[in-house]
């Protein structure tokens, strides 16, 4: 089923004018911010396809900035997003570009904070739903509908078992999982979607594993009244 429940039909609660160009863009921005783990000092956003053509009319730029500031899809501050960004000390640069074969509503966000960097690319696929296709140079595929763990680690035998052992201790059910690596024995990422949020102590335990570099939690469910 492409649409899972009644609130994917009636909903989201959102600021207009477009579920794909506005609400979806908020969720893309919010996901990127959570990957970075804070309000970026600088955000360079490249828009592709229809996003590039119509972003001003649809407020896609405002929506992406709002997402980076962790606003929900129906936050009225989205309209004043540029002023909010300035107040938060966030510098934002928008660019448009063309790339063959890319989904018509795609944004690539390069964020930096205190020397850290996150690069997140995602598409808005309709009705406010999104798909993240790239994180920090890795190819991934997740929707951010569920709490999602992104674990960056070395490509080593047994590392997946070490991580999932901790999820088992937390009694967390995995709904979807994928691994991508840049090279053999090189950098890798594991993406795990689960039904519930992993409590912080368990997140810390995964972060403390040898060969794990960092972990981030993407969870958009506190927006628009969904708990």
């Amino acid at each position: 089923m492409r649409f899972k429940d009644v609130f994917s039909i009636i909903g989201p609660s959102m600021v207009g004018p477009s579920s794909s160009h506005t609400a979806g863009a908020v969720r893309l921005g919010r996901t990127a911010r959570q990957v970075l783990g804070g309000v970026p000092e600088k955000a360079e956003i490249t828009l592709y396809g229809s996003f590039a053509d119509t972003y001003r009319g649809h407020g896609t730029d405002l929506a992406l900035i709002g997402g980076l500031l962790n606003f929900g899809t129906d936050d009225m501050r989205i309209k004043a997003a540029y002023a909010c960004a300035e107040a938060a000390g966030m510098e934002v640069i928008f660019k448009t570009a063309q790339k063959p074969g890319v989904h018509p509503n795609t944004a690539s966000m390069k964020l930096s904070l205190e020397g850290r960097e996150a690069i997140v690319t995602g598409c808005s696929i309709g009705g406010g739903n999104i798909e993240i296709i790239g994180v920090n140079g890795f190819d991934v595929k997740f929707t951010a509908i569920y709490p999602t763990l992104l674990i960056f680690h070395d490509d080593r035998a047994g590392i997946i078992a070490d991580m999932t052992e901790i999820l088992k201790l937390a009694n967390l059910n995995i709904g979807y999982m994928e691994v991508d690596r840049k090279s053999r024995s090189g950098d890798a990422v594991t993406v795990i979607e689960s039904d519930e949020t992993l409590p912080q102590p368990y997140v810390q335990r995964i972060a403390a594993l040898s060969n794990v570099h960092s972990i981030c939690v993407v969870d958009l469910r506190d927006e628009e009244g969904i708990s």
Binding site: I9, S13, M14, G16, P17, S19, S50, H58, D74
Partner: protein, 292 residues
């Protein structure tokens, strides 16, 4: 969910002696592992957003971000106070309310996507005007929203609900079908009648292309929301009177998929055809973006 067609939805309702709205609450709670009270409270909050959007669109001056549209809901509403609308007051009010919510959407106000932002005026237009007219409780309306959601769930998973995929029939058309079925049920129609009203309504919007001027959710989207509210009421009346959709509603949904899949790309939300590429449409686009 235990249903993936309007037929199985209707059969489940009949077997368990539930309305479509009641069944949807049960199914939603089961699917998400959240309690029924929590699910109902979220939908109640959504209905409040819808009512507020109606109020705002009628009372305040709305202007879209592009400056292309705004003020039509107010225009229709004002016209009603000094004239006898050809439609009659009730249908005219539903139309004004639907325009209001659509205009709030275009001005970056808060709305509920039903099923999308482009078609967000139809359900609130029909619901809020009917609630005022018949004196229904919010609780009754919220069950109506679950009913609309169940119908939309079937349409979305068997066809589509986005203009980019299936043209305007998928957005405005789906919203009309959802509103028609829900209104039939709110008025006391049986699940079978509600399902017939969905088929009757959808048949009237098959083939509708998505051709927004400048790619924006404004022209013709806003007026189509107004028309949509009126059509939903007409379909509900037909079904309540006993008119049946001779082609079963599930088969009509399949036709929407067939027609939408065959629709050229230029008529699926790309602004490369239809009204967007008329001389005036092109002129507006040039003014907006500095190119043709």
């Amino acid at each position: 969910m235990r249903f993936n067609s309007l037929k199985t939805l209707q059969e489940l309702c009949d077997k368990e002696a539930l309305t479509i709205g009641q069944l949807m609450v049960v199914e939603q709670a089961r699917e998400t592992g959240r309690g029924e009270a929590q699910v109902i409270s979220q939908m109640t909050a959504y209905y409040e957003v819808m009512k507020e959007a109606v109020r705002k669109g009628i009372a305040e001056d709305t202007r879209s971000r592009s400056g292309l549209t705004g003020g039509d809901a107010k225009r229709v509403h004002n016209y009603m106070s000094g004239n006898v609308p050809v439609l009659g007051e009730e249908a005219c009010k539903a139309m004004a309310y639907a325009l209001a919510v659509s205009e709030v959407n275009a001005s970056m106000g808060r709305i509920i996507a039903t099923p999308t932002a482009g078609s967000c005026g139809i359900i609130p237009g029909v619901f809020v005007s009917a609630q005022e007219r018949f004196g229904w409780s919010d609780e009754h309306m919220v069950y109506g929203l679950f009913s609309a959601g169940a119908i939309g769930y079937v349409i979305a998973n068997n066809s589509f609900v986005s203009g980019a995929e299936g043209g305007c029939q998928a957005e405005i058309g789906s919203a009309i079908g959802m509103a028609a079925g829900a209104l039939t049920e709110l008025r006391g129609g049986k699940p079978e009648q509600a399902v017939h009203s969905v088929g009757l309504a959808l048949k009237n919007s098959l083939g509708l292309i998505c051709d927004p001027v400048g790619g924006l959710v404004e022209i013709p989207c806003i007026v189509r929301n107004g028309f949509g509210a009126v059509t939903a009421m007409a379909a509900a009346d037909m079904a309540m009177a006993g008119v049946r959709s001779v082609i079963p509603s599930d088969e009509v949904i399949d036709v929407m998929l067939e027609v939408g899949s065959a629709m050229p790309e230029k008529h699926r939300e790309t602004a490369k055809g239809g009204l967007a590429q008329t001389p005036t449409g092109k002129k507006i686009m040039k003014e907006l973006y500095g190119r043709g």
